[in-house]
Amino acid sequence: MPTDNDNHVDRRTVLKYAGTAGAVGLAGCAGGGDGSDGEDGSDGDDGMDGGDGEDGSDGGDAFEVGVTMGQMDSGLDPQDHAETNTEIIVGQAYEGVLDRDKEGGIIAGLADEWERTDDGSVRFMLRDGVTFHNGDDLTAEDVRYSIRRIVFEDVGIVSPQSNDLGVVDEVTAGDGEVTVSFEGYNPIAFQLFATNCEIMQQSWVEENGGDYINRNANGTGPFRVTEYNSGNEVLYEPFEDYWDGAPEVDELRMSASSESSTRVNQLLAEETDIVTNVPPNEVSRVNGSDVATINSVASARIIFLQMRYDVEPFSSQQFRQALNHAVDVESIIENVLNGFGNITAQPTLEGHVGYNPDIDPYPYDPGEAERLVEESGHAGVEITLETPIGRYLRDVEIAQAAANQINSLSNVTCEVEQREFSSLVQDVTAPDIEDRPHFNLLGWGNAEFDGSQTLTPLLSSSGALTVLENDELDGLLTDAEATEDPDERVEILQEANQLAHDLAPWVFMHQQFSVYGVSNDISWEPRADEFIDPDTATQQ
């Protein structure tokens, strides 16, 4: 299979395959290359950008990488945020005790060994010789303090991540090791620690005020922040004393542009090297250019339409199933997303713990949908689908397309109401289920790669965003939480997924793809968890 890189001279040939996610395995994450690609090596046509002084693609002297995302950080405190963009920016400088590889597998971080103790606690044995960017050594006390700062409201700040590590009882620090005990059994402790919990230095946090901590970084990660321009850009240099060896990148620049077309333009003008969320219609422009290629990966984010179980007509299971039959997800993926998405049938994504491979999506069948609506007794009903604007890839268009398909049923009328994400979220997370929207589009990223992290918050009766109250499902989830045998736990979660499919609390839509545009000057592979790791990038 020819790759696009080899092929862009005659890119006007009618049909062409461009290898991305899986296919790039041959280029390798660390290898940097087949070296056969003479054209990209020459870089001659970049000359005009030379005046910028920030263009990473010039010459061979310095390896500069620019990353442009949709939004900048919300401050540099790694424990005082709850969103992906900030995580990407602070994640260059901070690390956790565990980490994940590109596919989502758990790997060593600041702890080189980890184990579950007999009483269900987890213990991390810290790596030797890890230093913070300010030169101080990492201690077990720092790790203890960081965990406590996240989970306990009376330590440091009230962290929005306090639920992300499970219900922590206490943290103890020993000689080069840290033990975390939980209230009850925590079957997914390592999944949680591999995704969350960035380690900060206790003395540095305590000596500096909140404003300082949000403008400076002192982590142990591969990059050290050299310049922070709030809302504009963050500049990094490689941390020479990084325990895993300093990254190849000589200068890293993180910036943001909320407009996808602007990001693509910047990529094509060689002002940046990696851009996030390339919309489907821009893909061929990127691939058709000489300077960049699309690189996409199935993400850990699922898109769905929530239906509240306690209000008519959504209280009817038949009606909910009817809507699942009414929406032609395949067509939406094909036409709105140009194929950048996988159809889903259950809350858990393929590859995540608890995924049930035996569940098929509801087939698109308007006739069946109309029959079910009739049966539910809600024929002629008028419903409104609320959708956020611009939060997820093509969210408004997807909502409009789905609503249009529902509307074309003979016995249902459906309209779309667009909402600003923050105000929609305010309703979706309302403490009382009665204040939540009846029918809305939402996306959920499961960074822990564990089905329970979707099912529990979104579908258990105690979940913060739930639209469902089903004793059977609650029971299964409670069981899963207490089950120590991983295989048994998977079975329980699979059962829960089958139940969720049948109950149809959502119109199951699709798994979102992370679509990146990557400059041909660098070789970099995207990750399944939406994080960006330029330390693995190599110069082409």
């Binding site: 005009m48 005046g51 910028d52 002084g53 920030e54 939004q71 950080d73 919300s74 401050g75 405190d77 005082d80 709850a82 409201e153 700040i157 009230v158 929005p160 991540q161 306090s162 639920n163 909140g210 404003d211 901590i213 949000n214 403008r215 321009n229 709030s230 809302g231 504009n232 850009e233 910036s255 943001a256 542009s257 909320s258 407009e259 602007t262 333009n265 910047q266 094509l268 003008a269 002002e271 600003e420 994400f421 923050s422 105000s423 979220v425 305010q426 979706v428 997370t429 403490p431 918050p457 979940g463 913060a464 965003l465």
Partner: protein, 330 residues
């Protein structure tokens, strides 16, 4: 009344207006449904977490205490800390302000440098093709949505012809000035600066160019028909002097007032231009703050915008008084 006293009187009035601005901005939060906590807490945060966050942000205090505290802090230059970023709003706002001011000034320069000669040429060549051209241009200018113009400019000059950068700020004007001191290539830095600022400045400046052209043209026509112009011609004064020193000067007096009032439009335009060009200024901060319900940042931005407006208008009034000495005595 002397010019100094006049300036002082206007400044005192300005302080009153700024207080009004602060109060309105503060009141805004209480006529807005929903709690700011949702902006801070994650989607699946518990009620306990939410309450703890509210207490941390001081949102559990009664209204008048929050207001009093806000004014008290404000007088010391403290606008609180951003809910979202955890950073001092004062620093945040003053970090963003220069970018917006730079853009606004660049746009004004583009507008004024093009518009005044265009208006004068248009007025002095009335009903010539050049007048029709300028009239149509200015008509188009005041009728074109600037965000759309920005998109079209990017499409043509950045994407198709690759002359300018698509977005972002690159270097600021201070870098250009410092490049000499730092022995960096001045021309290179200047070109980089121009590559970034030109398109947003045109997108933002076009409306004003059009407006000033129209005002200048009609003002000049008005002034050129006045007796003193005929008298100046009768005494043999060079045309340049008659047009620019005499007629234009008097034309600009009302133009300046209108521009002062239109400063709000300039800042409003900057908000949307910044959005189109990813220009890291106050406008982007305002929109981000609104979308995130980041009240301290929103309040801080609005107060700074309002205060700038008041300041510039005091300045305009003083300039006006200088140009037209009779104003002071009214």
């Amino acid at each position: 009344m002397s010019l100094g006293r006049f300036a002082l009187k206007r400044s005192l009035q300005g302080i009153g207006v700024v207080w009004g601005v602060v109060t309105v901005v503060f009141a805004l939060r209480f006529v807005t449904p929903g709690s700011p906590i949702n902006a801070v807490a994650p989607l699946d945060a518990s009620q306990e977490t939410r309450q703890a966050i509210a207490a941390e942000l001081g949102l559990d205090q009664p209204l008048y205490i929050q207001y009093g505290q806000y004014i008290f802090d404000l007088l010391q230059g403290d606008m609180g800390r951003s809910y979202i970023r955890g950073q001092e709003v004062t620093t945040l706002v003053f970090e963003r302000l220069p970018a917006t001011v730079e853009l606004a000034i660049a746009a004004s320069v583009v507008a004024i440098v093009l518009a005044i000669p265009l208006g004068v040429i248009s007025a002095t060549n009335r009903n010539d093709p050049v007048d029709y051209g300028a009239t149509l241009l200015s008509l188009g200018g005041i009728s074109t949505p600037n965000f759309w113009l920005g998109i079209m400019l990017i499409l043509i000059f950045a994407v198709e012809f690759n002359i300018f950068n698509t977005s972002g700020r690159g270097v600021d004007v201070g870098d250009v000035a410092l490049s000499v001191a730092n022995a960096e290539p001045f021309v290179g830095t200047l070109l980089t600066w121009l590559a970034y600022i030109t398109l947003p400045a045109i997108a933002l400046g076009t409306y004003f160019m059009a407006l000033i052209t129209r005002l200048t043209r009609s003002g000049m026509l008005d002034e050129l028909s006045k007796g003193y112009v005929q008298a100046a011609r009768a005494k043999g004064l060079p045309r340049t002097l008659i047009r620019y020193k005499h007629a234009l000067r008097n034309t600009l007096i009302p133009v300046i007032t209108v521009l002062g009032l239109q400063l709000g439009t300039l800042i409003g335009g900057a908000v949307i231009t910044e959005a189109v060009f990813s220009w890291p200024g106050l406008g982007t901060l305002v929109i981000e703050s609104i979308n995130n319900r980041d009240w301290p940042a929103l309040q801080g931005s609005l107060i700074i915008i309002g205060t700038s407006f008041v300041l510039v208008n005091i300045l305009v009034d003083v300039v006006y008084a200088y140009l037209d000495p009779e104003v002071v005595n009214d």
